[in-house]
Symmetry: C2
Subunit: 115 residues, 2 copies
């Protein structure tokens, strides 16, 4: 069993995103027998992950902060307790619109890159 | 894309646990192409999920409230931002020790029961 706080893991730049976006791989291939990978993404105020697609799913849980995602071309607000499922191949975007970091968990299957 | 709040999903009793423990399947087999399943578990104050094992992993992110898990026979406090990985076959236990619900995300592979 592993018990950590997500901030125990060093934050790395998220390559797909611009400045102010970091990623921590909190459960991944370094752990035994994982079928998927848990990352914690943190967007500083005003930061965004540009619209992009990839052939793997995302499962996201929003922990703190506020912002929006884009669904069918419309902005949809997200904040603590929101859940987002992005199907394989689906375009997705997220922006922090608040004064605090926007922090969410984002899981990918083990066949996807961890970062 | 699906965007919901976890409380939009009806809470169900978690069969493995005692009273005061509910489970919401927020992303699961009803969604296309999932490789794993996201549940949100909520323990009312004083409630617990008894020690148990199963042949699939858990990946957990603690969202709100406080409590503890048991690792190697020792209590380890958990609260907002904690991450727990339970390997397949590993015994695990969690208890709410606070005055508010203990809410955490708990993911399982698609080969496991959703509830």
């Amino acid at each position: 069993m592993k018990v950590i706080h997500y901030t125990d893991v060093e934050a790395q730049d998220l390559t797909v995103a611009g400045p102010g976006v970091s990623c921590r791989v909190v459960i991944g291939k370094a752990d035994d027998d994982v079928n998927f990978c848990m990352r914690v993404i943190e967007l500083q105020p005003g930061s965004q992950v540009p619209a992009h697609t990839h052939p793997w799913e995302h499962q996201q849980f929003y922990h703190s902060g506020v912002g929006y995602v884009v669904k069918d071309g419309e902005k949809v607000s997200v904040g603590p307790g929101n859940v987002v499922y992005v199907a394989p191949g689906e375009e997705h975007y997220v922006k922090n619109t608040g004064d605090e970091p926007l922090v969410f968990v984002c899981l990918v299957p083990k066949t996807a890159p961890e970062m």
